[in-house]
């Protein structure tokens, strides 16, 4: 059983999952920040590989990827960081990346499994294109995370969730990451609708920025909540002051984790 399946095997478990762009603001500082989130009790991690053209992301994550690339965080650095994180903690690790990075990497899946990644989400790969990807994940014991969008029809959502072996990442609202800081009004209804279709754990991201949002998602039946841009904004604001960034991240993660207890 992979770590995400273990995490969600307790049906009452509510998971708070912070997102970090690997290598932002630098490879070493990135580890320090992620460590702070782990120490503050994060239930799992969603980690991004910086990509030159993150077309599903809003300005905050774009700038984050740019900082990481500028700081010299290439694919090898991401792998090294993942190893370090895995050596430090045993929590579930999901990756969020753009397909070209995986497509270009020799033996990518084998390598990710080896460094202790538990599941992978490819931002630009709908189910129509994902057969081979899913097979590779399964072959290497990696979990599959698929996106469910606000405009995904029911039958399609059911199929997507049946193929998401780790969890379904429910896109909270239309738009790119981090542009709006409020949850969509119909989110609770959508979560209920999706729950009726499948037992697949639902983890909500996009438009989630505070412990209040996390609470609302848990109340609505979401098994997990992801905060990305709000954390990245903290990093952006405190680029020159890593201690301050660690402090703010600790506070945010602690308040969100408490929500789920």
């Amino acid at each position: 059983m992979n770590r995400f399946q273990q995490l969600f095997s307790d049906v009452n478990k509510k998971a708070f999952v912070p997102f970090f762009m690997l290598g932002d603001p630098s490879v070493d500082e990135s580890f320090e920040l992620i460590k702070a989130a782990i120490d503050a009790g994060a239930d799992a991690l969603e980690l991004g590989f910086p990509f030159s053209d993150p077309m599903a992301d809003g300005p905050v994550i774009q700038a984050s990827a740019e900082r990481a690339i500028k700081a010299g965080c290439d694919y090898d650095s991401c792998i090294a960081l993942l190893k370090k994180i895995r050596a430090y903690a045993d929590l579930p690790i999901g990756l969020l990346l753009y397909y070209n990075l995986l497509y270009r990497r020799h033996d990518a899946y084998q390598e990710l499994a080896r460094v202790g990644v538990d599941a992978v989400l490819v931002a630009d790969m709908p189910k129509e294109e994902s057969k081979e990807h899913e097979a590779m994940l399964a072959q290497h014991g990696l979990g599959c995370i698929h996106l469910v969008a606000p405009n995904t029809p029911k039958a399609r959502a059911a199929e997507i969730m049946s193929r998401a072996t780790a969890f379904a990442y429910v896109i909270g609202r239309y738009g790119t990451t981090g542009v709006s800081d409020r949850l969509a009004d119909d989110l609770a209804d959508r979560i209920q609708g999706l729950k009726a279709l499948s037992d697949c754990p639902l983890v909500v991201g996009f438009g989630v920025s505070s412990s209040e949002d996390v609470q609302a998602i848990f109340d609505a039946g979401g098994r997990g909540a992801i905060i990305g841009s709000a954390i990245t904004k903290i990093i952006e604001k405190n680029c020159g002051n890593i201690l301050e960034a660690k402090k703010s991240i600790t506070t945010l993660v602690e308040s969100c984790v408490k929500t789920g207890e």
Partner: protein, 390 residues
């Protein structure tokens, strides 16, 4: 006319939110192919609004220099100043039929932005255009034209601030405004069904050119030349001749400051397979798969990707793709102006330069066909800046 894959290339690699709108475009595209009302309306616009058919010109002075017959397909004379209008009239009609109330577009040289803004003005649909800030500066005249047609132009500063980044931001807009917005994609690339849809709208170039050269020269051309950025004017021209085995096909890629310089946009010649902008195709990228910043004097060719059908045509060796440098393109810009009195776009001048270079391989009674995909008024300012006052 609806292919999801061209050999191994193409596909629909997009975030889940864009699947539904792309399927909506697919269904609408299937429906209009057999819809007489739509076809009549489009035909009427192409003829009576845009001025089709465009002429075929026997370029006698260029022919003398080339040592064989040069024919020019004059898409520069199409309303809007480039072949882009073929596509935007078709897609804007499609958007209207789908009940969309807003159109977005990306643009490099500004020609697709202008053509979309024009179609939006004509059909009464608001248009938002995304354009890299570098392109906004080097194609300032086209920005003014778009604004005059009522479009909102968004200058994009991220990444390389050119066409690729404009596409990124247009996609971001689309994910946000999926329900009421139609994305009028400018070239025969991107996610399915755009490569097929845009090729369908542009095939008129090849259909006309084939008829015209048969009538004028009494024979099929020995070779046909087009520039390749994303590949829409080229696929339009080539589609008329793909079944004619005797017609050699040439695509001119932007070699910028040289193919060995890293300052080029020669995707087919120097790029590698990858997945980006919704398609499995070739891209100029680094070993990790980070998309590279390209360079070309012509904004319309300054793109690190290429339509998937071109990758297949290259693989099948049906089309020969060769590089043309900035320098060669500028020389061709001067040549076609001085010899024929035609101001051709920097993009199209890549095709002119390639044809003039390859001409020596043909006998003196050979007929070479060049697609002059757009007019060069937009490039005059850049020309003066690069080469000094005329």
């Amino acid at each position: 006319m609806l292919k999801k894959y061209f050999g191994d290339y193409g596909g629909m690699f997009v975030p889940e939110t864009l699947v539904a709108p792309l399927k909506e475009v697919e269904q609408a595209f299937i429906a209009i192919q057999d819809d007489d009302v739509f076809q009549r309306e489009l035909q009427d616009l192409l003829v009576n609004y845009a001025g089709r058919s465009t002429p075929l010109t026997h370029a006698k002075n260029l022919s003398k220099i080339a040592g064989c017959n040069i024919y020019l397909k004059r898409e520069d004379l199409l309303h809007g100043g480039a072949h882009k209008t073929n596509n935007t009239l078709g897609q804007a009609l499609l958007a209207k039929r789908m009940g969309k109330t807003r159109i977005i577009a990306e643009t490099g040289a500004g020609q697709h932005g202008v053509a979309t803004a024009m179609a939006g003005a004509l059909l009464g649909i608001p248009v938002d255009v995304y354009m890299g800030s570098i392109d906004v500066a080097r194609q300032a005249m086209n920005v003014e034209r778009m604004k005059l047609f009522g479009a909102t132009v968004h200058s994009v500063d991220s990444g390389s601030a050119t066409l690729k980044d404009a596409i990124n931001d247009a996609l971001r807009d689309w994910v946000t405004n999926v329900e009421n917005t139609y994305y009028c994609f400018g070239t025969a690339a991107g996610p399915y069904p755009f490569p097929s849809l845009v090729a369908y709208m542009q095939r008129v170039i090849g259909v006309e050119a084939r008829e015209q050269i048969l009538e004028m020269a009494g024979a099929l051309p020995d070779a046909a030349f087009a520039c390749v950025g994303g590949g829409s004017n080229a696929i339009g021209l080539f589609s008329g001749f793909l079944e004619d085995d005797t017609v050699q096909l040439f695509g001119a890629e932007a070699a910028g400051e040289g193919l060995s310089s890293h300052k080029h946009a020669a995707t087919l010649l120097k790029g590698d397979l990858g997945v980006f902008h919704g398609m499995l195709s070739k891209f100029v990228q680094d070993a990790d798969g980070q998309i590279a910043q390209t360079h070309s004097v012509s904004a319309g060719l300054d793109y690190p990707g290429i339509g998937p059908e071109h990758v297949l045509l290259q693989e099948k060796e049906r089309v020969t793709y060769l590089g043309v440098t900035d320098e060669e393109a500028l020389n061709a810009f001067e040549l076609i102006a001085k010899q024929e009195g035609i101001l051709a776009a920097f993009e199209s001048c890549h095709a002119v330069a390639l044809a003039m270079r390859e001409a020596k391989r043909f006998s003196k009674d050979a007929n070479l066909l060049i697609n002059v995909s757009g007019r060069g008024d937009k490039d005059l300012e850049s020309y003066v800046r690069l080469r000094g006052a005329v």
